[in-house]
């Protein structure tokens, strides 16, 4: 694509992002109900959020390098997982995915490195430095 096309593409993406934010904001003003009994605002809000996410992902792929996209996605997923699965599981998965994606290590060696590094980090921070970390779901 030529530069005009690229610029136009970015402009459209920016507009879509604005639209998503606007829709989310407007939908948030409607009665949203509960998850088990969604009201009129629930779906548009979810749609706005999803649209914003997918456009942001498009931006990440277009503007930044792929590495940035992977890191951000992994961080977001880790945030969702952290308190449910504990630091050791989350950290091991996080490192495994990132190492596998970014380093020349294969998925097998990445997994070992991930587990080992997560365990060591957990020991260092929690036991030596006294940081309160939910290591496993059952220890918190």
């Amino acid at each position: 694509m030529n530069t005009t096309g690229r610029r136009l593409e970015l402009a459209v993406m920016a507009c879509l992002l604005l639209l998503a934010v606007f829709a989310f904001w407007q939908a948030a003003l409607m009665p949203s109900g509960t998850l088990s009994l969604p009201g009129p605002g629930m779906l548009p809000m979810a749609l706005g959020a999803l649209l914003a996410l997918s456009v942001l992902a498009l931006f990440a792929l277009r503007l930044g390098s792929r590495q940035i996209g992977v890191c951000v996605l992994a961080l977001l997923a880790a945030g969702l997982l952290f308190e449910r699965a504990g630091f050791v599981v989350t950290g091991a998965l996080f490192l495994w995915v990132l190492l596998w994606m970014l380093s020349p290590l294969g998925w097998w060696r990445s997994s070992i490195a991930g587990v080992a590094a997560a365990l060591v980090t957990d020991y260092l921070f929690k036991d030596l430095l006294g940081v309160s970390l939910p290591s496993f779901p059952w220890t918190s």
Binding site: L8, V12, P38, P40, G41, L58, M101, S103
Partner: protein
């Protein structure tokens, strides 16, 4: 299962003089938009959509379906004679079709394209006729929960399968779903995104959106892309089929029929993809694959058959599930819904005149097109000589009158213009607006079925995975997402690993 009696009743509907006329108009207009580069079946459908509001449902769908499959016939003409695809499904035909025309074999190319189109089209109607009623019976058990799963599956499949980058398609689907929420909430009647305008309480007119996105925006795009063309003119004599040509292309036509019919079920741009697949198959099976590209008759016969063979099978999801798999059938769906005919499993039982009338009219229409296309090829080619400066204002005028006639409201003309500009910008930025249209059509029903299901289950989301049908749909969704994610991850890693300056 007895198909003879209902089919005869269908012919009684389709052979009524008025319906014959609508079928003829549809086929002719379809051929015209097929021939004209830049105006595709979508634009053709949306331009005539407003006119069907006054017709009865059977007549409306007979005419619109005629445009849909008529365009597949017309597309080959421009491909062969000018090497400009009249519409996307005829891109492949340009390769060997134009090469044949250069060698003075335009006649045979047009003939096998027309015959292949007829064979593929007719065979796929037989498939539609045999498969649709039993499938409809099966689908009658689908409740709101499974219906939601089905629609989600359709939209996801569309995002992943249709040529473009999945994220862009997904964004378009989401925008479409958001547009569908404009108006009063279907369950609680709470106004959404109306900003106090009473005009918006019923949502934005689908016809205005369709006409804008596909009719107007194509006209705008064409200003930059169309150059005047010189067509190769076939002699009338060369249009008499020769036995050797028919013998050469018969196997290609048979294979094209199968390829097209199978691909018709796939959401997205099945009719386009099927032509590429058919061309690849023919080249693979040929004893002289290197001759493809230099005017091989199989390279015309296969793809041209395939794109017509998708027309019947693409109707099956529409008529049986009420779910359009491709944008063209989304417009057919909206035409039926305007008349309160809800396509879906009940259609065959509740509106036999629509279902069987459509099938019968498709048999008739395919014969009409076969007869029309060959002798009138010269006439259609002349269409290409109309300067665009006359054509564009004319078409815009027709769309203006059409959209006004729907609701007698000039606001719709403005909306059409806005969506025309939107469609133009989106396409320029390489966003395909077709998924947006599909999402608008499905949006309301998707939300209603989800919220109904949740009401039935008193808020338990697991209802979406209960029942055999729901399990099948959910399973398919999970499989689709997993496959896509796996393909994406592995492809991603490969790309990253290839980078030499890979940061550690």
């Amino acid at each position: 299962m007895d198909v003879i009696q209902p089919l005869l009743n269908g012919f009684a509907v389709a052979l009524r003089p008025d319906n014959l006329l609508y079928c003829l108009i549809g086929c002719l207009w379809g051929t015209v938009v097929g021939v004209l580069p830049g105006l595709g079946p979508l634009a053709g459908l949306s331009l005539l959509l407003p006119l069907t509001y006054k017709l009865e449902p059977a007549s409306a769908i007979i005419m619109l379906a005629g445009i849909f499959y008529g365009a597949m016939y017309g597309g080959s003409t421009t491909s062969i004679l000018v090497r400009i695809p009249g519409e996307a499904a005829s891109i492949v035909t340009c390769i060997d079709g134009y090469a044949m025309a250069r060698k003075g074999r335009a006649g045979p190319a047009l003939v096998v394209a027309a015959i292949g189109s007829w064979v593929g089209g007719t065979a796929s109607i037989v498939g539609l006729m045999l498969f649709a009623p039993p499938l409809a019976k099966l689908m009658l058990q689908v409740g709101p929960a499974a219906e939601f799963g089905l629609m989600l599956l359709a939209l996801l499949a569309l995002s992943f399968v249709s040529g473009g980058p999945p994220l862009k398609t997904l964004a378009m689907v989401l925008v479409g779903l958001l547009i569908a929420t404009i108006g009063v909430d279907p369950i609680t009647a709470h106004p959404r995104f109306t900003f106090g305008f009473i005009q918006f309480t019923e949502g934005i007119s689908f016809v205005a959106i369709a006409l804008g996105l596909f009719g107007v925006s194509e006209i705008l795009l064409n200003f930059e892309e169309i150059a005047m063309v010189k067509a190769i003119r076939p002699t009338l004599r060369s249009l008499v089929p020769k036995l050797q040509d028919l013998r050469d292309s018969a196997p290609a036509i048979a294979r094209g029929t199968v390829v097209g019919f199978v691909f018709g079920f796939i959401p997205g741009i099945s009719h386009v993809v099927s032509t590429f697949v058919s061309y690849a198959v023919e080249r693979k099976l040929s004893r002289e694959p290197e001759a493809f590209g230099t005017g091989k008759i199989q390279g015309v016969a296969g793809p041209e058959t395939a794109n017509n063979a998708t027309t019947g099978s693409a109707m099956i999801p529409l008529l049986v599930l009420g779910i359009p798999a491709i944008p063209a059938t989304a417009i057919l769906l909206s035409a039926l819904m305007i008349h309160n005919v809800q396509p879906g499993p009940q259609l065959v039982a509740e509106h036999p005149d629509v279902f069987w009338g459509l099938i019968a009219s498709m048999y008739i229409g395919n014969i009409v097109l076969l007869v029309l296309n060959l002798p009138m090829v010269g006439l259609f080619v002349n269409l290409l000589r109309i300067p665009y400066a006359y054509l564009a204002p004319g078409i815009l005028l027709i769309s203006m009158v059409g959209i006004y006639s729907v609701a007698s409201n000039s606001r719709d003309i403005v909306i059409m213009g806005i969506f025309g500009l939107l469609g133009y910008v989106l396409r320029k930025a390489k966003f395909d607006p077709a998924p947006l249209l599909l999402a608008i059509v499905l949006g309301d029903r998707m939300e209603v079925s989800l919220r109904r299901a949740l009401t039935i289950s008193q808020g338990d989301w697991w209802i979406l995975a209960q029942g055999a049908m729901s399990k099948i749909f959910i399973g398919a969704i999970v499989l689709l997402v997993a496959l896509q994610a796996a393909a994406w991850l592995f492809g991603f890693r490969r790309k990253l690993a290839d980078l030499p300056e890979n940061p550690k």
